[in-house]
């Protein structure tokens, strides 16, 4: 089943063509440099960039797809490709309202023009399924075994989700304020380390072997809920820095960010561990931009090992960030279950779309 998918939920314009779990072609235009100057994603700039780039990105993706399909030169790329494409999928939310719109409008336009059914996908589903993506040769060949605990950890999201079957999501815990990636970015910003701050912190922390000298607080760790909070950690960090002189900050820079990173990850790992104990499910699937962090990967591996479980991450680096390939993979399972957008014309963005609003399973 060949699906063309589009994701414009935040600051990447991304288009992919997938066949089941196989990613046949993938094209991404990243706006990160555009936003770097502002220290974060600026909605109006994001919207403009999506609008300017989306046609080019689609074309690039179709070219890649076409090259993989046939050796003969074709006269009309779009017509040739769309003959082989079964459905069109698009991210409906969550994300930046005015950015989501660009992708949705384009998907509607293509669906209408080439008479394809439209599949609406939740971006968070995509992050979960990104761990099951395969290259065009079908590697890695890992099976999808249920049940598992899906952990999404990115700049905008931090969630622990129980999945007993395809497209069946039970949100066990989520952040009540800042996302984990956002907390790292903010800590980096407080120290003038630039945006995005996560990778810088990872590097600096590794240089001091991820020591935790400062023992910043781990909010909500004592509470029974699996929800997480990063706002208190950020506050504690801020007031700790205020007590230091510039010289002290510079001297302690590496251990400061390392301690912060340890605190942030500790919350996530401990809450995941609570989720393992609560559900008895020991299979972990972790997706989202922050899982590009090697320290966090190691912590998850150690956690899985302690519980005689296993953990899987997205197999290729481009799959940790926002990408349309993961949207296409979800869409394939939706198509198998006949879940299509009922009124494609009326499909609207859902900036704060949640996994529960989609499956109807409520958090207890």
């Amino acid at each position: 089943m060949i699906i063309l998918s589009i994701d414009t939920s935040c600051d990447e314009t991304s288009v992919a063509i997938t066949d089941g779990r196989k990613v046949l072609a993938n094209a991404i235009y990243s706006q990160v440099l555009l936003h770097k100057k502002w220290g974060g994603v600026v909605p109006s700039i994001a919207k403009r960039a999506h609008e300017e780039k989306i046609d080019l990105v689609i074309e690039e993706c179709l070219h890649k797809f076409n090259r993989s399909q046939t050796s003969t030169h074709c006269t009309n790329l779009f017509i040739t490709c769309f003959k082989n494409i079964d459905y069109i999928a698009v991210t409906q939310g969550p994300g930046l309202a005015i950015a989501l719109e660009v992708g949705i409008n384009k998907a509607k336009e293509l669906a209408k023009k080439y008479k394809k059914k439209l599949i609406a996908v939740n971006h968070l589903e995509g992050h979960i399924y990104s761990a099951f993506a395969q290259n065009s040769a079908g590697n890695p060949q890992r099976e999808i075994e249920f049940p598992f605990l899906a952990i999404i950890v990115s700049g905008g999201h931090t969630e622990i989700v129980l999945m007993k079957d395809h497209l069946n999501y039970e949100v066990l815990g989520e952040t009540v304020d800042d996302a984990a990636g956002e907390a790292l970015d903010k800590a980096a910003k407080l120290l003038g380390l630039g945006y995005p701050g996560g990778p810088v912190i990872e590097t600096l922390a590794a240089q001091v072997k991820n020591q935790d000298l400062d023992h910043f607080p781990r909010p909500m760790l004592r509470e029974k809920t699996l929800d997480m909070s990063y706002s208190g950690l950020k506050t504690a960090f801020y007031y700790h820095l205020k007590k230091l002189t510039e010289k002290e900050k510079n001297q302690q820079l590496k251990t400061l960010v390392s301690s912060f990173q340890e605190a942030a990850f500790d919350v996530l790992i401990k809450k995941t561990e609570s989720a393992i104990k609560k559900t008895g499910v020991k299979r972990l699937v972790v997706g989202g931009g922050v899982i590009a962090n090697k320290r966090l990967r190691n912590l998850f591996r150690a956690l899985a090992k302690n519980h005689q479980g296993e953990v899987v991450f997205p197999p290729y680096k481009y799959l940790t960030g926002d990408n349309a390939a993961m949207i296409g993979i979800v869409a394939c399972y939706k198509a198998q279950k006949n879940v299509f957008a009922e009124n494609p014309d009326q499909l609207d963005r859902l900036p704060r779309m949640t996994l529960t609003s989609l499956s109807g399973v409520d958090k207890n």
């Binding site: 935040c10 100057k37 502002w38 220290g39 974060g40 994603v41 600026v42 909605p43 109006s44 700039i45 994300g95 930046l96 309202a97 700049g155 905008g156 952040t175 009540v176 304020d177 800042d178 996302a179 990636g181 956002e182 970015d185 903010k186 407080l190 706002s231 950020k234 506050t235 504690a236 801020y238 007031y239 900036p351 704060r352 949640t354």
Partner: protein, 336 residues
């Protein structure tokens, strides 16, 4: 239902009734027999004052002496979860007054009560429906379980609306002395005019909701400009607004600058300008389009909103909120 309550009150009966804080015990504040029955029910020592509900400033000024400076402060606090103590004019049963002839007045922002007082046309006692020295009750079941039979028999009518949200009892503010004194601290702890002390995220949310109620109107969009350092509770404040608007899951919008949520009266826009480095950038957000009646906008890091402040002021009711770190546990929240 209201008719029935009024009939009972007119006959000097006691009514258990939900309030904006806890379940209360209502009686006609101008009927001595009714008040005596109430004091008997509560086991309240004679001479301890009992406050009264009024429906308006008009009724308030009939019951107590108010000078101009007190009035300006009152207009600020009320309606809200406060009991204000002022010099009584002797219009209610004297058993309700203190030895110094002062009277506690409640004007809640809770239509259940104010509508009832309005229809009744007279002040109604505003004491919690527990026995003296015992904690207040948030459900009728727990109240009745705590009462011996002879006490239960004194109740003439009970209005049960189930569990009340666990709001604290009102903050009691004594305005009769030159220096304002707080005799009991409720959810909203008053510091000075337009300034509150919050000791927990829950309190910060309550303060947000109180400020919202004071300022919302359907005629103009309402804009909150939150200023304060990192970690003073700006997102908590926004969460409080969200809860007031029926939104449970407000999370930090830093990553995407703003989130929009549908609400009954329109939309709630939650901005975080933390990432905004260049003032001009704000002009690209089409904020003008968001400024329609019924919409609520909340800006964290509002000090960065200076380029659009004129626009905001022209089109909306703007509330400035300043949040200040006092110590690890306490924040001061001022509004203008």
């Amino acid at each position: 239902m209201q008719k029935q309550i009024i009939t009972v009150l007119k006959k000097g009966g006691l009514v258990i009734f939900p309030s904006d804080t806890v379940y209360g015990l209502l009686a006609d504040a101008t009927n001595e027999q009714a008040v005596k029955k109430l004091i008997q029910f509560k086991n309240r020592p004679w001479g301890k004052p009992i406050s009264v509900f009024v429906d308006s400033f008009l009724m308030l000024e009939k019951l107590v002496d108010v000078n101009n400076s007190q009035l300006s402060l009152l207009k600020n606090l009320l309606p809200g979860p406060f009991t204000v103590i002022l010099k009584s004019k002797g219009q209610v049963v004297s058993l309700l007054e203190s030895e110094k002839k002062t009277l506690g007045i409640r004007l809640p922002s809770y239509p259940f009560i104010t509508d009832l007082v309005k229809s009744f046309g007279k002040p109604i006692t505003a004491t919690s429906a527990n026995l003296a020295g015992r904690p207040p009750h948030y459900s009728v079941t727990s109240l009745f379980n705590s009462l011996p039979k002879q006490k239960r028999d004194l109740i003439d009518l009970t209005v049960d609306v189930g569990d009340l949200p666990h709001n604290k009892t009102s903050t009691i503010v004594d305005l009769t002395e030159p220096e304002i004194k707080m005799l009991r601290k409720g959810d909203l702890v008053f510091d000075q005019k337009n300034s509150f002390i919050s000791q927990s995220p829950e309190q910060t949310k309550k303060i947000a909701q109180y400020i919202f109620q004071k300022n919302f109107s359907s005629e103009k969009p309402l804009v909150f400009i939150l200023q304060g350092e990192l970690g003073t509770g700006k997102t908590v404040f926004a969460k409080g607004l969200g809860e007031q608007l029926g939104l449970e899951k407000i999370i930090s919008p830093t990553f995407v600058i703003y989130y929009e949520y549908p609400i009954k009266s329109g939309k709630f826009f939650h901005f975080d300008l933390y990432q905004i480095a260049d003032k001009e950038e704000l002009e690209n957000f089409k904020i003008e389009k968001m400024l329609v009646p019924g919409n609520i906008l909340c800006f964290e890091w509002g000090e960065k909103s200076s380029t659009i402040i004129d626009l905001l002021k022209k089109k909306a009711k703007v509330v400035y909120v300043e949040m200040e770190y006092i110590n690890e546990k306490e924040r001061r929240i001022k509004y203008l």
